[in-house]
């Protein structure tokens, strides 16, 4: 079995598992972790497909796309985390005010 097929299959499984994980997560930080893993799976598919060339050298265009993709994915993670942090604060505060559980809305 050639190398890229191995990693492409791995990418498909990773995206599926992490995608489902992101949908069913009940807590925002865990959801973010799964979304990030799904990103990595997508990148893996790109890089694996870049490897189909007959010469040993890989196609550089998908590599460049993935390179920028990783940096964008970490920015989206950082943004989501900073918004989540505010959300957690806000729900904690309203929970203290109205004595309702902060997680009721989440679940």
């Amino acid at each position: 079995m050639s190398q890229w097929i191995l990693y492409a299959a791995s990418a498909a499984a990773t995206v599926a598992i992490a995608g489902v994980g992101a949908f069913v997560a009940v807590e925002p930080v865990r959801r973010l972790l799964s979304i990030n893993i799904a990103y990595s799976g997508v990148f893996m598919a790109f890089v694996a497909l870049a490897r189909r060339t007959t010469s040993g050298e890989a196609d550089p265009v998908p590599h460049a796309l993935v390179l920028t993709g990783i940096v964008v994915s970490v920015s989206s993670t950082a943004l989501a985390l900073s918004l989540t942090r505010r959300l957690v604060r806000a729900t904690e505060r309203s929970g203290r005010d109205s004595s309702s559980s902060p997680d009721e809305r989440e679940a």
Binding site: V15, A58, V72, V88
Partner: protein, 313 residues
């Protein structure tokens, strides 16, 4: 042949497995550490697939910045494990398997030996001004893409700044930490310059150099040797837009003469790309470094009332 295949198979099998355990983790700390393990495995996968440039970025962004970012979530996230009690797993496994089969069928259905754009990239490398194909793609062939990516990064940094997160409360620092940060930061600066310089011939470039520099700043921030870059200071704002600005400045002269925008011309391409890479490195490093919330002793008035008025202003 044999061990190479075994190594690839182990990495390829471990990736979905770790993804599964992250999704199934009840304790947040467990999910986070497994997530860091996933980053490491994917860096190995990039290396195995010959994507050294990608592995360099993954190593500095994944192991350094992302790890620290998600780890900082432990200090404020809802750690109540009762809310994430395990539920039935069979339906989810079935859905995941179905998606995986569909995706796998699509991915494995593509024509096998395929050159992609490798031929086009190599054929035009002579005019690009650099010898490293990935740098040529990023800075020359797909210059628009990189220019607007930098804009996306800047807007992310500005949005995070606008969220005005309070500093994270840290335990008192120690001399040990300060010594560590002081040893690492100069090394990171040197390595960042090294990757920038190397980028025209070998894996490296603005993204790798920027990520390494941001990692050094992050360590110093965590050790309270540096403050998080404040995006309200005018010269930091000016440095923040250095990347897009250098793209525009370098692309403009030829544009005025009637050439397509961002066409550098074969004579000056090498210098043009270096100038753009230098500007982009500053932008990328600054943006990545500003993602991490400030660290320090608890601020004086973090109570609800002052927080609320600040939020509505």
């Amino acid at each position: 042949m044999t061990f190479d295949w075994l190594l690839d198979a182990t990495v390829a099998a471990a990736l979905p497995l770790v993804a599964w355990t992250v999704a199934r983790s009840v304790a947040l700390s467990r999910a986070i550490v497994l997530f860091i393990a996933f980053g490491l495995l994917s860096a190995l996968a990039w290396t195995r697939l010959g994507a050294i440039d990608v592995a360099l970025v993954e190593a500095s962004v994944g192991a350094g910045l992302s790890g620290a970012l998600v780890m900082s979530a432990l200090s404020w996230a809802n750690l109540d494990e009762a809310t994430v009690a395990r539920r039935s797993v069979i339906a989810r496994a079935f859905v995941a398997a179905a998606i995986a089969l569909c995706l796998g069928a699509v991915l494995l259905g593509v024509p096998d030996p395929s050159e992609g754009l490798l031929g086009d990239v190599s054929a035009n490398l002579g005019d690009a001004g650099v010898h490293q194909p990935i740098t040529a793609v990023l800075m020359s062939y797909r210059g628009y893409d990189t220019l607007f990516e930098l804009v996306v990064l800047i807007s992310a940094a500005l949005t995070i700044g606008a969220a005005k997160s309070a500093r994270l409360e840290a335990r008192p620092g120690s001399d040990l930490l300060r010594a560590l940060a002081d040893a690492l930061l100069p090394l990171c600066i040197v390595l960042s310059a090294y990757f920038l310089w190397r980028g025209s011939n070998a894996p490296g470039g603005a993204f790798q150099g920027g990520a390494v520099l941001a990692g050094g700043v992050l360590v110093s921030t965590l050790a309270e040797r540096l403050r998080r870059p404040r995006l309200t200071v005018w010269w930091i704002r000016a440095a923040l837009v250095l990347g897009p600005a250098s793209f525009l400045l370098v692309g403009m002269p030829r544009f005025v003469e009637g050439a397509p925008f961002l066409e550098y011309g074969p004579q000056s391409a090498s210098r043009a790309i270096f100038a753009i890479e230098l500007g982009s490195l500053v932008t990328i490093a600054l943006v990545l470094a500003s993602f991490f919330p400030g660290v320090g002793p608890l601020e004086t008035a973090p109570d609800a009332s002052s927080e609320r008025t600040r939020g509505h202003r």
